[in-house]
């Protein structure tokens, strides 16, 4: 990738100043839509092209999902209102059973205005990293 192109990508990119748990060195990501209905996206690292994960908006599957951000997290992300926040969660698979899960314990929250985000590790919650979703094969 040449320089101007990379710069253009970075301007649209999400910035996670702390990286991700397990991957602290990866700070810059882009979101790529995977389906026409917008149900799933790919969170692609710009710092390492080999690193990406599939994410989705959890409310499609769990309308009641209500993660609570601490004051600290809201301040760090400069979130004045909930409307400024974009939230998505990692999707995983059991490679044997083929069952699929959402990680409701580790949601990504991004400030839509500043594009700054972080992956939270929720505390004091019943949410788990492996919450089964029904995704019928068509």
């Amino acid at each position: 990738m040449d320089q101007p192109e990379h710069k253009a990508l970075l301007e649209k990119a999400l910035h996670f100043p702390d990286g991700l748990p397990g991957l602290p060195e990866l700070e810059h990501f882009v979101i790529v839509e995977l389906r026409e209905d917008g149900a799933f996206q790919q969170l692609q690292s710009l710092d390492n092209v080999d690193v990406s994960m599939i994410v989705c908006v959890p409310w499609l599957f769990f309308p009641e999902y209500a993660p609570v951000l601490s004051d600290i997290e809201q301040t760090e992300l400069d979130l004045e209102t909930a409307d400024d926040a974009v939230l998505f969660v990692p999707v995983s698979i059991d490679t044997e059973s083929r069952q699929m899960f959402l990680n409701l314990l580790g949601p990504f929250v991004v400030n839509a205005k500043t594009k700054v985000g972080r992956q939270l590790v929720l505390t004091g919650t019943e949410y788990t990293t492996r919450t089964l979703i029904e995704l019928p094969v068509v």
Binding site: P21, W59, P90, V138
Partner: protein
């Protein structure tokens, strides 16, 4: 690893501004209070580790997950 013995009510100071206090010891459990600056994240180790492991698995299996989510039907339960 530095190992210290503390009694309930006693503390450990880490650096300039982190204070860890043993609050209570009861039935094999220890309640600990942590005073740290806002920018310091404090997690239960096993919870943070779960999220870390789940990230690594989600990245390792990304091709399989991408194929699965592209192939399958999503029933929108938010209208239900």
């Amino acid at each position: 690893m530095l190992v210290l013995t503390r009694r309930p009510g006693e503390s450990i100071v880490v650096g300039q501004n982190i204070v860890i206090t043993v609050i209570e010891i009861k039935g094999g459990q220890v309640r600990i209070g942590i005073d740290a600056p806002r920018e310091i994240d404090v997690y239960r180790e096993e919870i943070y580790e779960q999220v870390r492991q789940e990230n690594l698995a989600a990245i390792a299996n990304v091709d399989e997950i991408r194929k699965a989510v592209q192939d399958r039907a999503v029933e929108d339960s938010s209208d239900a």
